[in-house]
Symmetry: C2
Subunit: 312 residues, 2 copies
C-alpha cells in the first residue's frame, strides 16, 4: 500500500517533510541556467535540461533526509513535451534513490477521462497497452465532478497500491469560496461532503491504520486541520502551505494523530530556492538547500517531541 510505503519512508528518514519540486527558472541558480542555455539556447529543451539537472541536485541532497518529493505538474508542462520528459525522469531518479513520489496534478474529469488520467499516473502495466512503465506513488485529484471523477483513481490505485489524494480544503486564500459553504439541509460544508466520499470509499487500511485514499488540507487553516483530523481518521493528510505560503510549524501539529503519524508536510519554494542569491556558487546553493531541509526537519521533530509524538 502507498500509505504503508510512505510511513515506512518517514520512519526510515526520521522526517515528515515532503519536498515540492516546483521549477521556476526565474529563481534558478545562474550556474545551472548558464550551462543549459549554452547547450540548447533559451528553448523548452534547455529549460527541461536545467530542470532535470537541478532536480537531481536537490534529490541527491535530500533523498536520505526526507521520505518524499512532490513535483507540481504545471511547472513541467510549461515546457511542453520536454518539460513532461523532465518530470518523468525526475520521478524515475527519485524512485531509484528510494524516495516516494507524489504527483501534484490536481486532475479530475468525467469517468472515462479520469480513468485515462489514473492510467497516466499509475499505469495499467497491461501487456497489450502502449504505455511506459513509469508511474508515481500517489497523485492529487479534484472532487468538483463528483464520485465518477474520483472512482477511477481509487479503483486503479487499489490494484496498483497507489495513493489518491483528494482536495478537501486547499491552502490558498480563496479556498473557502467553494469549499467552506454550508450545504442547505445537510449541516455540512462542501469540504465535509468530500470527506464523506473519502470515508465511504475506504475499504482497506494498512498496518499503521491508514488507507490509500488521502486528503489535501492546507497548513494555512490550523483550525480546519484539527477538525478534519477527527473526521478523516484513516486518511493521510497532504499539508501544503508550510514556509512560503505562511503556514507555521505550530499550525501543522493538528495534522498528526496521537502517534505522530498522518501528515505529509510539504514545502517547495522555501527549500528549492533557499539560497539568498541566484548567483551563488554551486557549493553555496547546495549548502543552503541542505541546511533548510535539516532546519525544517528539526523544527517539525522538535514540535512533535514536545507533543510526545515521535514514532521512531
Amino acid at each position: 500500500m502507498f500509505a504503508d510505503r510512505y510511513i515506512e519512508s518517514v520512519i526510515k528518514t526520521k522526517s515528515h517533510l515532503c519536498v515540492g519540486l516546483d521549477p521556476d527558472l526565474k529563481k534558478y541558480p545562474t550556474y545551472i541556467l548558464k550551462q543549459a542555455e549554452e547547450e540548447y539556447g533559451r528553448t523548452p529543451e534547455g529549460a527541461a535540461s536545467a530542470i532535470l539537472r537541478f532536480n537531481k541536485v536537490i534529490i541527491d541532497l535530500i533523498y536520505d533526509k526526507v521520505p518524499a518529493i512532490k513535483p507540481q505538474l504545471a511547472y513541467y508542462e510549461k515546457y511542453d513535451s520536454f518539460g513532461l520528459d523532465a518530470f518523468w525522469k525526475t520521478v524515475e531518479y527519485a524512485q531509484s534513490k528510494g524516495m516516494i513520489v507524489i504527483a501534484d496534478a490536481k486532475r479530475g474529469d468525467i469517468g472515462d477521462t479520469s480513468n485515462a488520467y489514473a492510467e497516466t499516473f499509475f499505469k495499467t502495466l497491461d501487456k497489450e497497452s502502449w504505455e511506459s512503465k513509469l508511474s508515481v506513488d500517489a497523485v492529487t485529484v479534484n472532487p468538483y465532478l463528483g464520485s465518477d471523477g474520483l472512482n477511477p483513481f481509487i479503483k486503479l490505485g487499489a490494484e496498483k497500491n497507489k495513493g489518491t489524494i483528494i482536495l478537501v480544503k486547499t491552502s490558498n486564500l480563496s479556498s473557502g469560496e467553494i469549499q467552506d459553504n454550508v450545504i442547505e439541509g445537510k449541516n455540512q460544508t462542501v469540504s465535509e461532503l468530500v470527506c464523506d466520499y473519502i470515508n465511504n470509499n475506504i475499504k482497506q487500511v494498512g498496518k499503521y491504520g491508514y488507507s490509500d485514499i488521502a486528503a489535501v488540507i492546507g497548513a494555512t487553516y490550523p483550525e480546519e486541520l484539527k477538525k478534519f483530523r477527527t473526521i478523516l481518521s484513516k486518511s493521510l493528510f497532504l499539508v501544503p502551505g508550510l514556509g512560503y505560503q505562511g503556514g507555521s510549524i505550530e499550525d501543522i501539529k493538528y495534522a498528526f494523530d496521537e502517534n505522530g503519524l498522518g501528515a505529509i508536510l510539504t514545502s517547495s519554494r522555501a527549500i528549492n530556492y533557499a539560497y539568498k542569491d541566484i548567483n551563488s556558487s554551486e557549493e553555496e546553493v547546495k549548502i543552503a538547500i541542505l541546511n533548510k531541509v535539516i532546519e525544517d526537519n528539526n523544527a517539525i521533530n522538535t514540535m512533535l517531541e514536545k507533543e510526545n509524538k515521535i514514532i521512531w
Copy 2:
C-alpha cells in the same frame, strides 16, 4: 478575442460542432496501429505516432466543416512526453488549417501554480522566457480552489486573447454531488456561485456580445442549460455530452441564444470512432467519420432552422 474568433469560425464553416479528439487506441483503426507498431513497437512513442497520424486524418476531413477541435489532455498524457508531443503537434496542425483549438485540461490550482498552467496553454511570449510559441485558443479550468485559482487564466487570457472555460455544471452522472448543492443562506447552488464569479469578472465582450470567459454546461442536463443560458448571458457554453454521453440534439437547443449563437457543441467518440469495425479500410474509416460530422451538422442546423436561429 477568443469569442469573436470562435463565432467567426462558426459562421465560416456553418457549423456549431467542436470535435473532441480523445485518442483511445483500443478503438483505433487497425491500419493506423499496424504501421505505428511496425515502426516503434508497442511503445509510448508508437502510440504517439498513431495518435498524431489519426488526428491528422480526422483534421483533414473536418477542418472546413467544423469550427474547432477539443483534444482531451488525459488521452495524450497517458503516453508521457511522447503523448504530450502528439498533443502539441495536433494543436499546431489544426491551427495551420485555420481551426480553433480548445484544450480540455480541467486545470485548477493555487494562484502561482494556476499561473504556470495558464502560461502552459497560453504562453507569455516573453523574450526572456524559455517556452515555445505553441498555444491553444482556450482551455477548460476547474473552480474548486476559488477565484485565486481562476484569476491567472482570465488575466493572461485577456492579454493574449485566449478563452477560459470554467466548469459550471458538468455532463457526467455524478456532477450534482458537489455542483447541485444549495448553499445555506444564499439560495444558490455551487454551480450558480461559479456563475457569479464568471459574471463579476467579465470586463469586455466582443462584437457578438460574448466574453472570453466561457462555461462548461453538460448537454445531459437540458433544464440546467436553459437556466444557465439566462444567468450567463455573455458566456459561450462548451456543451459536452452530445452523442456518446447521451445528450440529444433537442436537449441542446437551450444552449443557444435568440440569434443562434453561444453554444460550442462537442462530440468526441461518436465521431472519432464512427466506423463500425476497427478493421475497416482507410477509405471506410474516412467516409464513416466524414458522414458522422455531416450528419451531426445537419441535425444541429435543422434544429436551429426550426427555431429560426440560423446566424449565417
